[in-house]
Amino acid sequence: MTLTYTQVWVLILGCAALTALNKAFGPVLLGGRELPPWFTRVIVLLAPTLLCALVVTSVFASGRSRSVGAHTVGVDVAALMLWRRHSLVLCVVVAVLVTAGLRAI
């Protein structure tokens, strides 16, 4: 499918508008008031759930299919290193080197 110049720009602006709405929704509807303790307990758990879902889908999935690749191995090695409290920069470098190395062979 090839899009015309105009269609591409409509698509880009549409995505931008949708993202802005997504980001504004919570603050507009729920901001500016005291929220009950149960709400806080849910918020605290949003960070681990969202971050884990982001990591898992970027490591074990591609688009709409589950798939693994060289980067899965690279990230796994880095995960072990992070757990052993190595520095983040070192872990990122190792993950990239392992991934690139596996793809070279």
């Binding site: 919570g26 500016g32 149960w38 806080t40 758990l45 759930t49 074990f60 596996l102």
Partner: protein
């Protein structure tokens, strides 16, 4: 694709002062990394940390995109450079910092499994938003 910003915005809402317009504008500064960094872990977000960490990200992200668009062809196949391993490792480090107690650990495991289960049967973006509903176990269980 960006459906997860709905959940992030809901979490951030109580931390933003001002009227609806001002809050909506502040909500625009949410990106994954700064949202996670500004999260103090007690339900409150440090909004200045959020703004401050988004700004350099926005500038370098945009600059990087421009450089990539102009010079990207020179690198030919970026896939073989293994750069796609950077993003998950970075978020993994943020995730590890969030696993403070058993409740958050189980919530993370549940969310990961749910997101993975939904990948083949829903459009991109939805698995992550759906996984955030696992946080609702906070209603039933007192977090430590």
């Amino acid at each position: 694709m960006n459906a997860r910003f709905l959940a992030m915005g809901v979490a951030l809402a109580p931390s933003l002062p001002g009227g609806p317009l001002k809050r909506a504008a502040q909500g625009q500064t949410v990106v994954d990394a700064s949202w996670a960094l500004a999260n103090r872990g007690d339900g409150i977000f440090d909004r200045w940390l959020l703004f401050g960490t988004t700004l350099p990200q926005y500038l370098t992200w945009t600059l990087g995109s421009v450089v990539g668009a102009i010079f990207g062809d020179a690198l030919s196949d970026t896939h073989r450079l293994g750069l796609d391993a950077i993003y998950p490792v970075f978020f993994l480090s943020l995730l590890i910092a969030e696993l403070r107690d058993p409740t958050s650990r189980w919530a993370a495991v549940g969310a990961g499994l749910l997101a993975l289960a939904l990948v083949p049967i829903s459009p991109p973006g939805i698995p992550i938003l759906a996984a955030s509903t696992v946080a609702l176990i906070g209603l039933a269980r007192r977090s430590a």
